[in-house]
Every structure is written in C-alpha cells, then in structure tokens.
C-alpha cells in the first residue's frame, strides 16, 4: 500500500459493489459507497459502516453528484432480468444517465473511471467463446434491450468521452458472477437453484437445460476489476472478465442438489424470451494484459455460496414486483 486513493463505487451496496468496497477499504483506501438501494441491500455493507475510511451516500446516479475523487468504479445498475423487465425505464436511465454523470464527474475532477459493462452486450452470440472484438447479436427492441442496449450505449459514451474529452477510462465486460450476497430473489440461475433446494422446492430449469453458462466466483472477478483499474493507461478495454469453464444448466442443478443435500426433483419449464443459448468469455486479453485468470473452481465457490444462503433468513428478503424492486434490509 503506497498511496491512499479516494475511490467512489457506484452501486456499492450491490452484490459486486459490496465486495469491491470491502476489498478497497481493506487496502486502506478512502472509499465512498454510493447507492440508491433500488435493488441493493443495506445488509451487504453494514459491516463496513463503522470503518473510518468508509462512507455511504444514498443517491441515485441518474442525478449528477459533485464529489472529489481519484477513481470511480461505475457499477450502479439493476442487473438481473427480473429487475430490468419490471423496470425497463429505470434501467435505461441508470445505464446512460449514470454513465454521463460519472463521466462528467471524471471530467471535472480528472478521476479515472471504470465502467462495469456486461457480457449482455454480446446478446445471443453466434460466436463462441466471445472475444472482445465480437460486436454481438442484440435485438434492439427485445424485452432485454433496456439492459443490453443500455450497457452498449454506456460503453459508447465512455469511448466518446475518452476520444473527445480525453477522459481516462476503463471498460470491463463482466460475465456471469456468483457468490455470497447475491440477492436470493434476483432470478439468476445460481441463486434460484440454491434457494429452491434450501427451501425444499423442486429445482426449475427453463428449457431443456442443455444451454450452457460460465460462472465466475466473485473474489476472482473483483481481483480482475481492480487490476484493470490499476493497469496501464494505454489499455482501456473493453476486456472480458469471467470464467471460461463451461457448464450446462443441468450440470449446475445437479451440483446444487449434491452440495445442499436437498431431496427435491429437477423440473423443466418453457424457455424464456431472448435467453441466450450459450455464453462463455474468451479471456485471452485479460490473461495477456492483466495476468489475470479465475482461480476458484465452481464446486468450491458454490459451497461458499450455499453456506451464505444457509446463513441468511430468506424470509427477510422480498421478491421483486412490478411496483417495487427489493426493499433494502
């Protein structure tokens, strides 16, 4: 630890954001966590609240904010399909107005700003695995477009501000990530399966279960993000961060059954709209430029995640509805 930096993390109380805040705080940095608690949980960061180098601001990045910082990690965005399908307008606004406001802040303060983009920019890819040079196959008017195009447009904004205004940017494309502090009702496949198994319900697979996913454990992902932020200024991305090990949704369900020891069945439901068949990162670039790759095997990460879900009271979390996302704990 040489220099203490003032670091802003938007979406800092979310799943990834809270882990990032924790890591940066532990490194001794002066961390400002910004969140509107639209989908985030206060319980994710309550353990950091007493620390002298951690500060929490309740704010919606759709509105500008004036802060003096050296670095910005822009993570704020409803990130799971259950949210963006109930709240498409909130999603497009957060993505794009949030990006503009953070880029504006970076321009005023000279801060370096990292955009947490997503593998969703590749849509339903026709190329496997996806390298960063792949332009994607996104339906601009589909039900997931609010998120996919919102994130694509945010990338465009980052590059335009970089090219026109000289803002020091980084763009990472985050693939499926899992771990403790995932919201139990975020509708993602891992949290769905674990919650179902732990509450004695059958595990539901949309489609035939042969669609594949790659899952990156949260600690690996955070390490990659921090390396990208601290990498050389001539490598701005976009760079894929994810785990290239591929599993079918069926395999995942079976592993969850085994780790939870639950006595439930696996049942199949009709596939959901615009659900990609397959998604897997090509992380050649991250390996080369950041000397980064995931180290936590799925079984080990899943075991920690199951442990987390066992430790929380599922009844204190709410399912999202059209009129509200999750309530903050």
């Amino acid at each position: 630890m040489t220099t203490v930096k003032r670091i802003l993390v938007t979406g800092g109380a979310g799943f990834l954001g809270s882990h990032l805040c924790e890591r940066l705080t532990a490194q001794g940095h002066d961390v400002i966590c910004l969140d509107n608690f639209f989908t985030s949980q206060k319980s994710n960061i309550s353990h950091l609240l007493g620390r002298p180098n951690f500060e929490l601001i309740r704010h919606d990045i759709v509105h500008p904010i004036w802060l003096e910082v050296d670095e910005v990690y822009n993570l704020a965005c409803p990130a799971s399909p259950v949210h963006y399908q109930f709240n498409p307008i909130k999603t497009v606004k957060t993505s794009v107005m949030g990006a503009i406001n953070m880029l504006g802040l970076a321009r005023r303060t000279g801060a370096k700003v990292l955009q947490a983009s997503t593998s969703e920019v590749y849509g339903d890819p026709t190329v496997h695995p996806q390298p960063e040079s792949y332009w994607g196959n996104v339906n601009p008017i589909g039900v997931r477009a609010c998120y996919d195009e919102g994130k694509r447009c945010a990338e465009t904004l980052f590059f335009d501000y970089h090219r026109s205004e000289g803002i020091n940017i980084r763009v990472v494309r985050i693939f499926n990530t899992y771990g403790p502090r995932m919201h139990p009702y975020d509708g993602r496949v891992i949290s769905n399966f674990i919650v179902q198994a732990l509450s004695g319900q059958d595990i539901t697979i949309y489609g035939d279960g042969t669609q594949t996913r790659s899952f990156c454990y949260v600690d690996d992902l955070i390490e990659g993000m921090i390396r990208m932020m601290n990498g050389p200024d001539d490598f701005i991305g976009p760079v894929n961060l994810g785990n290239p090990a591929e599993f079918t949704v069926r395999q995942l369900a079976e592993m969850v059954l085994e780790l939870t020891g639950a006595r439930v069945k696996i049942v199949h439901l009709p596939p959901v709209a615009d659900d990609p068949r397959q998604r897997r990162p090509d992380i050649t670039l991250a390996r080369q430029k950041l000397s980064w790759e995931p180290t936590v095997p799925l079984r080990e990460g899943l075991a920690k995640t199951v442990e987390y879900f066992r430790s929380i009271d599922l009844k204190s979390f709410r399912r999202p509805t059209p009129s509200r996302a999750h309530n903050g704990l």
């Binding site: 332009w135 008017i141 990338e155 090219r163």
Partner: protein, 312 residues
Amino acid sequence: MRILVTGAAGFIGSHLVDFLLAKGHEVAGVDNFLTGRRENIAHLADNRKFTLIEHDVSEPLNIDGPVDQIYHLATPASPQAYTAHRVATIKANSLGTINMLELACRTGARFLFASSSGIYGDVSAGPQREDNCGNANPTGLRSQYDEGKRFGEACAMAYHRERGTDTRIVRIFNTYGPRMNPADGRVITNFVMQALRNEPITVYGDGMQTRSPCHVSDMVRGIVAAMEADFHEPVNLGNPEEVTIVQLAREILSLVPASSSKITFVAGLPYDPRVKRPDISRARQILRWSPAVPLREGLKTVIDYCRSAKRI
C-alpha cells in the same frame, strides 16, 4: 393537432415541418442549430402556426399547452457531422430520446423515434429486414450514431412496455433532396456541386458500387404514415432501387447540360462503404407506402436547390 418536431431545422426535419403545416397542423420546431440550419426554416418566420424553440434535446424540455404528437429527429446525421460532434450525437439519441419520451408521457403525446439504417451496422450485402439484429460495434468510430440509434429504439420500447407510451419507430435509409447541406460530403450533393461549378466529377474506384437514395418528399410521407399507423415495432423507410455511382454521375451531368464537367475516376474507396439497402415489405404492407419519386425527378430538385441558393 399540435405537433412537436425535434431537429426541425435539419434536412428531413424541415421538410416534415412543411408537410405538417401544409396539412393545417400547428407545429413547434425544436432545434439547437448544432447542425440544423436557420435557412432551412427561414421561410416559416411569419407563419403563425409555427413556433421555433431553440433548445438542446439532451436537456429536459417543458412546453406549455397540449402536445398531440412528437417526432424526434434531432441528431447530427452525416458521417462528417457525427464525427465532429461525437458526444453531442450520442447524447441527442440517448438523453434526448429519454427527455422526449418523458415529455410524451407528461403530455400524453404519441411519439415517433427517427431511427436509422445505421442500427444494422456492418451487414453483408442484400436488403435488410426489420428483424435483422444487425452487426454494430458498440465502441467504434461511428458508434455514437449507430449505437445511439439502437439505444433510442430500446428506450422507445421500454416506455411503450412500462408506461404504455404510444410509440413509433422508423428506420431511415439514405435520403436526398433539397436542403441537404452541400458541405456534408454526401455523394449526390458532391456531384451536383461539381457539375454546377464545372469541376471534374470524382468517382472513387470503378464507380460500380451502388446507392439506393430515397427522395425526401417520399421519406416525409413515409414518416407521417408511420406516425398515423397503429404499429409499434420498427419500420424500414427507404428506396430499395439501386443505382451505381457512375449512373448517378451521368444522370446528374445530363441534367446540367451547360456543365463542362467530366467524370474522372479516382483511386481509393468511397467515403462511406457501408451503404445499405432496405427491405420495405413491412412499410408496403402496414403503411401502404413505397417511394414514388423517380431518381431523375428527384435529382432535379437537388440541382434547382443548389442553383437557387447560389451555392456555386
């Protein structure tokens, strides 16, 4: 009706305003004059049914009184313009679209987003249908336009789905006609200006590459038909008929008989290699629309415009 048109001083916007005024509507035209030109709407200065609002759509807009329809056309639209105004372009299409959709929600207005063939990105040859997801680079040198338009469509659909906003999307292909900025570097205006100035008409490569330009009067008819139709998904508007660059040059020369210009072939690539051709089956079927102005007639209007405006 009272109709708001953003980009009202632009090439297509100003023709749309004329068309709507001619139908007896009241029109509020919004423009920030970044690339829109005052001369395009100068003839409306004394028109009591027209109001000009000088405003940048990337800032929220409030307007007194009722608004029945909003046509959102504002954006730098030529490759030269959107390259010069990168951030303004992505903002007009992203923030600008959100702001105009918010206005539509507040006023209950029907909203039309002027999207573009740019959303298809670098697609292989052949006419594009609306269900093509395209091949657009989110972080490239033209993304401020292409991705801006894709995002604008996603916004229109988001408001339609969540708030029931009455939205329309048209994807505008290559369009030409009077009031195109002759300094924009587009092939038709380039050739016309060269012919009128008796300069060599420069054709890049062998001139066999094609364009399928649609006359602005046809385009405006199509845009209004889309607004009037009960259909929320995107509709391609453009001319599927192809013409080679050499044909264009010859056609223009024959319409300027006094010109001493000669066609000269220049090595290299055309400025815009990604020209796309629309499949307009949907527009034909749902809007009962197809282009009607023959190329030769359309070219005459451009030549007359360039002449009368004393641009030579």
